[in-house]
């Protein structure tokens, strides 16, 4: 079972490259079965015996793609397919409408052909993963358009979108417009939307990893490591003692079965500078206790967890007094990797108080395990959560976009490419629905 990755735009191509690098070096150091399983998912072997990523790179500018191509080739361990990329000379100008209405349709055939070639190379397609940011023009606009095409061509395949959300104090003035349009469209197309917020990852870099001058590359590495710990082989309930062959399908089935709830967030523990790892000891109870508190208090880092937040007893919940600080989950997927993984006690994540009342904790909680340590940590835990964690940033994003829309700021830039005010309103409406669904999760 293989995953075909579609990297879109500057951000998607950088994060994607980083992800393949993380996966390849992780698989390289591990034992054979794990390594083979990982490679089958993300790579194929060329006739010369090189590992080639099952990926398609798409951007409207050639710069980032060329960088990724060179870096991958330089690593000596893996490379991108010689012809599996597509680039143009002129970008989308940070305009979603330009990407969605102009660039996307114009290059549809080429892109579809590239993806089809990768899909046909797989014995069995586990699913498609589209990686992009929501702020710019190419990743968000072309990305949305390409996702739509993929949904048309592969109606029965799992499609996961990995999105990078921009810094709140943005890089691009119209980033909230782009985000709203992307999210609203993807919500109808994608099976699950996995989100990394730049702000959160930036804080992890500065506070946990002690990086002084944080670059995009540092941020992308953290994202790639978290993604890798989710997507690398693991033993699941359905896999009967061997590494699961259906990573995307099982991920989506565990977390996003309800059409109104598709937003997934990731948190992992431990995260520390590699120089400190040697001096640290980890225990499963300690890691899981922290991770659980991170979940319910909606902290993305171990640093600054609010230990006061507690799940309320059943009788209190009915009075809807769930404090605003308590993060209710719809479903959680816990992935444990490392030593003594079978002795880890995960009962605290099965507490019904963590979940919405209409889904039993048995249905809402899924556990994957792998005895192979990931990313130099002797023991590590990653939690993918479909919870209220993204409610606040989403609400902020939609709020800011709405304020701009109310004064019709920059709207003409979108109208000129064929996105009407009506389209904007539709997108706002559908995201308000998402916000309301997640708010009522209790």
């Amino acid at each position: 079972m293989s995953v075909v990755t579609v990297q879109l735009g500057q951000c998607g191509n950088q994060v994607g490259h980083q992800l393949f690098d993380v996966i390849c070096s992780d698989a390289h150091e591990a034992q054979r079965i794990y390594s083979c399983s990982s490679c089958e998912r993300f790579f194929y072997r060329s006739r010369q015996g090189e590992l080639v990523a099952r990926a398609v790179m798409i951007d409207m500018e050639a710069k980032v793609i060329n960088q990724s191509l060179t870096k991958a080739a330089k690593s000596g361990r893996w490379k991108y397919g010689d012809t599996s990329y597509f680039s143009q000379k002129q970008g989308s100008g940070n305009n979603w409408a330009n990407g969605y209405c102009v660039h996307g349709p114009r290059h549809r055939e080429v892109v579809e052909e590239l993806v089809r070639r990768e899909v046909e190379r797989c014995d069995r397609l586990a699913g498609l993963m589209a990686m992009m940011s929501v702020a710019g023009g190419t990743g968000s606009g072309v990305g949305t358009y390409v996702t739509q095409c993929l949904r048309d061509i592969y109606p029965k395949s799992f499609i996961l979108n990995h999105l990078t959300w921009p810094y709140g104090t943005g890089e691009v003035i119209v980033q909230n417009y782009n985000s709203v349009l992307t999210l609203a469209h993807l919500y109808q197309l994608s099976d699950a939307i996995l989100v990394h917020e730049n702000d959160t990852v930036h804080r992890i870099c500065s506070q946990l990893l002690n990086i002084k001058h944080i670059s995009f590359s540092d941020v992308n590495t953290v994202i790639a490591q978290q993604l890798g710990s989710v997507l690398q082989p693991a033993l699941t309930a359905d896999s009967h003692g061997v590494y699961s062959r259906n990573p995307l399908g099982e991920l989506v089935s565990a977390l996003a079965c309800h059409p109104e709830y598709k937003l997934l967030s990731v948190s992992s523990i431990p995260q520390m500078p590699s120089s400190s790892i040697a001096y640290s000891t980890f225990s499963w109870p300690g890691l899981l206790k922290h991770l659980r508190q991170m979940l319910i208090s909606n902290a993305k880092m171990e640093e600054g967890i609010d230990w006061q937040v507690r799940p309320l007893a059943g009788s209190e919940r009915t009075r809807s007094l769930t404090g605003p600080s308590f993060n209710t989950s719809l479903a959680n997927l816990l992935i444990l990797r490392g030593k003594d993984v079978y002795s880890a006690e995960t009962g605290s994540f099965e507490d019904p108080a963590l979940y919405t009342s209409w889904l039993s904790s048995g249905e809402a909680f899924t556990l994957w395990k792998s005895p192979v340590p990931f990313n130099k940590y002797e023991k590590s835990a990653t939690l993918v959560s479909n919870s209220q964690a993204l409610l606040k940033p989403l609400d902020n994003m939609v709020g800011k976009a709405w304020n701009m829309f109310a004064s019709r700021a920059y709207i003409h830039q979108y109208i000129k490419f064929g996105i009407s005010e009506e389209d904007f309103l539709d997108s706002f409406t559908s995201l308000e629905q998402v916000i309301s669904s997640y708010s009522q999760l209790c």
């Binding site: 079972m1 014995d123 069995r124 397609l125 586990a126 029965k156 395949s157 799992f158 099976d191 259906n246 399908g249 989506v252 089935s253 996003a256 079965c257 309800h258 059409p259 109104e260 919405t356 009342s357 209409w358 889904l359 249905e363």
Partner: protein
């Protein structure tokens, strides 16, 4: 007009031939010639009847849908008939001839005509027996199929329509959809691998060195061919099925117009929708009632026969009206339960009636 009729009858014959071909393709042995069907419509001879008995027995035997001890020992013709009667009863069909007891009044004449059996066959076809036979045969022939393990879906009848259970339901539906997709991709992979396997083993089978694999392959090919024939026969039947049912209608018309002679007359006016499942009990009751007046006659000599007969008639009328109507589409068990409760009701009525009679007696 006459020509048209002839054309129609030719067409009907072809349609029935298509049905016979399909039945034979599903692995039944005792499939009669199309002509048998036509003769059965007009209440054909013993020979026709025998062929239909065999066909019905074969169907029940093949689908093994009769959960009766009788299905294991099929030595005598009467056992066959028991099996067929039980099978029809379990499929929800009921006709008077099915209830004729051995040595009873009807048994001497065979109890039923070939038209009755034809109607019973029509019922079975309409109830999806063909599809059952087809599925069974396809599973036998196509070894590459993933046969689903039968699951007993436990559906609670207390569906709550609050928002929480609706959301839960939506989640479960989504879950099911995802599992369906996963299964589909598994089957695609399996098909791909099978294809690779077959195309790899085909050239080698041409050489004499791998006799064993070529023998296996030949068997596989034969089975595949049989499977194709079967599916094609089903397709052909599906296209002309309508004609058959129109013809079957005419059989029913025939049946209603000219009831077969020699049947017990008191049963002739029963409605088809009446439940006969509990009739063993009811019949025993009726018998008791029949003997009752004689006993009473023995007890009280001065009474006139006509009065007795009148009373007897009244009781029977009452029994008829009290007889429970079988509810359609009910489970077998519950149907039987209804029948039995009907019996107890009837007996209590009978008790009452007897009491009343006793009072009338004294008065």
């Amino acid at each position: 007009m006459q020509r048209g009729k002839a054309a129609v009858s030719v067409e009907v014959k072809q349609v029935i031939a298509a049905l016979c071909k399909l039945l034979a393709a599903t692995g039944l042995h005792a499939v009669p010639a199309p002509e048998t069907f036509r003769r059965a419509k007009f209440g054909g001879e013993v020979e026709v009847e025998d062929q239909l008995w065999q066909l019905l027995t074969d169907i029940f035997h093949t689908t093994s849908s009769v959960s009766s001890a009788a299905s294991t020992q099929l030595k005598e013709a009467s056992e066959h008939r028991k099996l067929v009667a039980a099978g029809l009863w379990q499929s929800g069909y009921h006709a008077d001839w099915m209830y004729v007891r051995e040595g009873g009044e009807g048994a001497e004449e065979g109890g039923c005509s070939s038209r009755d059996l034809l109607l019973a066959l029509g019922w079975l076809l309409a109830m999806g027996t063909l599809e059952k036979l087809l599925t069974q045969r396809v599973q036998q022939l196509d070894r590459t199929l993933l046969t689903p393990t039968p699951v007993d879906p436990h559906i609670s009848h207390e569906v709550q329509l609050d928002s929480a259970s609706l959301r839960r339901l939506q989640w479960l539906i989504g879950c099911l959809r995802h599992q369906g997709r996963t299964m589909l991709s598994m089957q695609e992979e399996r098909a791909g691998l099978l294809h690779a396997l077959f195309s790899a083993s085909l050239p080698s089978s041409a050489s004499s060195s791998s006799d064993q694999s070529s023998a296996v392959l030949r068997e596989d090919c034969a089975r595949m061919r049989e499977l194709c024939d079967l599916l094609e026969a089903y397709l052909n039947w599906k296209q002309v099925e309508k004609v058959f049912w129109t013809w079957m209608d005419s059989v029913v018309d025939c049946h209603l117009k000219e009831p077969v002679v020699g049947r017990p007359t008191h049963r002739a006016n029963r409605k088809a929708a009446v439940c006969h499942h509990g009739n063993r009990g009811l019949e025993r009751l009726e018998d008791m009632l029949l003997t009752l007046p004689t006993l009473q006659k023995g007890q009280r000599r001065g009474r006139r026969d006509a009065e007795d007969r009148g009373e007897r008639g009244a009781y029977r009328a009452r029994l008829h009206t009290e007889r429970p109507v079988r509810q359609p589409r009910r489970g077998r068990g519950s149907g039987r339960a209804v029948g039995f409760s009907g019996c107890t009701d009837a007996s209590s009525h009978r008790g009452q009636a007897a009491g009343e009679e006793g009072q009338a007696e004294t008065g």
